[in-house]
């Protein structure tokens, strides 16, 4: 009985939200109504602009994926280097912070001048957004290996390479995936924001950020809402991908996936 109610609950709250949406729209003055398109108008706008939105989603997904993959790969390499000694960490960390502290709005014009507007800039911006949480988490994981396990490996006369590959890297996986979840959430946002500032429509290369500028300049409220929905969907796909990868790698052994009685 309770289970069926739990299943129905999200559907009910969704219907409630849509109902509320219509109610707010009705409460608005006639001249303000264009600001809030009705749900069915959004659906219609989605259909009308489907080719443009679909292309923008593909472009943004490409930028987000490439930036994300570069960030994950390079952050892993850097984390391995950083994990080698505390001295290397104190030498590098302040500069990593600079990366994280500089807002994209400031970086975008520089990148446009360096690599030109479009996909390249979007990839770099996504990379910069994802890189920091990945490095910090993975490094933390690599240096948090249980002291006794390290002693155990030393007793077994393990080489440094064996210690890293067979002990430190697998032990760091939960931390790595924490970073990956954060980066996975940030990647599509980074790609879309990056596209907003540094995107280009040249050769049909505009993403969701660029499309937002186009629709807002044309006062196409329904299309803007449809673009927002598409952005949201892209974000969900990324998070779902990362969550599945994390489940695949950890559910056998990690406590965070153990079934509890409560």
């Amino acid at each position: 009985m309770k289970i069926t109610f739990d299943r129905v609950l999200p559907v009910l709250s969704g219907l409630g939200l849509i109902g509320g949406w219509y109610a707010v729209r009705l409460a608005l003055d006639a001249e303000q109504r264009f600001l809030l398109p009705q749900p069915h108008e959004v659906v219609v706008a989605f259909g009308d602009n489907a080719p443009a939105i679909w292309q923008a989603v593909r472009n943004s997904a490409l930028g987000a994926s490439l930036g994300f993959v570069f960030a994950v790969t390079l952050s892993f390499v850097l984390a391995l280097i950083l994990s080698l000694s505390p001295r290397v960490r104190t030498g590098f960390y302040p500069y990593l912070m600079i990366l994280q502290m500089t807002p994209i709005v400031v970086l975008a014009p520089i990148l446009i001048l360096w690599v030109g507007p479009g996909l390249n800039s979007v990839i770099i911006i996504t990379f910069l957004i994802c890189f920091f949480p990945m490095v910090v988490n993975t490094t933390q994981g690599l240096i948090s290996t249980d002291r006794n396990l390290v002693d155990f490996f030393r007793m077994c006369k393990a080489s440094k390479r064996q210690e890293i590959l067979l002990l430190r890297v697998p032990a760091a996986l939960p931390y790595f995936f924490t970073g990956l979840r954060i980066a996975g959430t940030l990647a599509p946002i980074g790609a879309i924001v990056g596209d907003f500032y540094a995107g280009s429509s040249a050769g049909g290369g505009g993403g969701l950020g660029y499309l937002t500028i186009v629709f807002s300049s044309q006062f196409k409220m329904g299309a803007l809402f449809a673009t927002a929905a598409a952005s949201c969907a892209l974000g969900f796909i990324f998070v779902a991908g990362v969550v599945s990868a994390s489940w695949w790698a950890l559910h056998h052994w990690h406590d965070s996936y153990s079934k509890s009685d409560s």
Partner: protein, 265 residues
């Protein structure tokens, strides 16, 4: 018998960590092949440190240690450590965990499988080979840890309070199992514990240490015959020895409590 050199010998060994206070002072003893030596004493007396020195996990600050005729760092292949915690790799199955030392030391795969099966059978966990550590109870995890140590057929086994976190029933049971395994595999054991009963049940020699700094206070010989069983625990001799060692332990603890007062006087 008299001609056999000692397996482990300590000569005036001292230990301090960095510039810190002396942890161990003037420790001298010899262990013969097949000895089961328990180290007991108040916390901070350096019992676990002695194991770390034998295994070369930590360097000495003075004196000399000889293991199987050579320096500890050269004798690492001869010994294995069983830690306070099971220290299993949680992402590997029981079987893969037991295989790890063999894998790291580069033994052949075929021989490896045989050794794994044998050591898992010894601790009664052959049927749990495919389990992950988190699916096991505390006692079972410790058994895997012991199987992992045994797979290398070490000549010296260093056990650092391996059963400290377990309930008394499980602990008693594992003590009996450990002695049963020792009848199949010859090794010299150094066993750190806080439990007097456990020390008397397992060992033929008990070294009582005093603290601040850790010194050898007294050695007690346990001449109860092996194999020891539940009946051993009921025997009068066993209980007399437990009472004796407990008394020694209390006197060392009193000594430690008085030490700061004596220093200021």
């Amino acid at each position: 018998m008299a001609t056999q050199p000692p397996v482990v010998s300590f000569k005036h060994v001292a230990k301090r960590y960095g510039a810190g206070p002396l942890i161990l002072d003037d420790i001298s003893f010899e262990a013969d092949r097949g000895d089961f030596i328990s180290l007991i004493g108040p916390s901070g007396c350096g019992k676990s440190t002695i194991l770390k020195l034998i295994s070369a996990l930590s360097p000495i600050s003075g004196g000399e240690i000889v293991v199987e005729g050579v320096a500890p760092s050269e004798a690492m292949e001869e010994m294995f450590f069983v830690f306070q915690e099971p220290t299993l790799l949680p992402w590997l199955t029981v079987e893969q965990n037991v295989a790890m030392p063999l894998r790291l030391r580069g033994s052949k795969v075929q021989k490896r499988d045989e050794l794994i099966a044998k050591s898992l059978a010894m601790v009664g966990l052959a049927e749990r080979a495919a389990y992950y550590p988190r699916q096991l109870s505390g006692g079972q995890k410790m058994r895997v840890s012991i199987a992992r140590a045994l797979s290398l057929s070490p000549r010296i086994l260093l056990l650092d309070e391996p059963f400290g976190a377990l309930d008394e029933m499980t602990r008693d049971h594992l003590n009996e199992e450990l002695l049963a395994i020792r009848q199949q595999q010859e090794w010299t054991a150094f066993f750190v514990t806080h439990s007097v009963a456990e020390a008397v049940f397992l060992s033929n020699r008990i070294m009582v240490l005093s603290a601040n700094p850790g010194r050898l206070h007294e050695e007690v010989r346990v001449d109860l015959p092996y194999p020891r069983t539940e009946e051993t625990r009921q025997s009068r001799e066993y209980q007399k020895l437990v009472a004796h060692v407990s008394k020694l332990l209390r006197s060392v603890e009193r000594l430690r409590d008085q030490a700061p007062a004596a220093a200021t006087a």
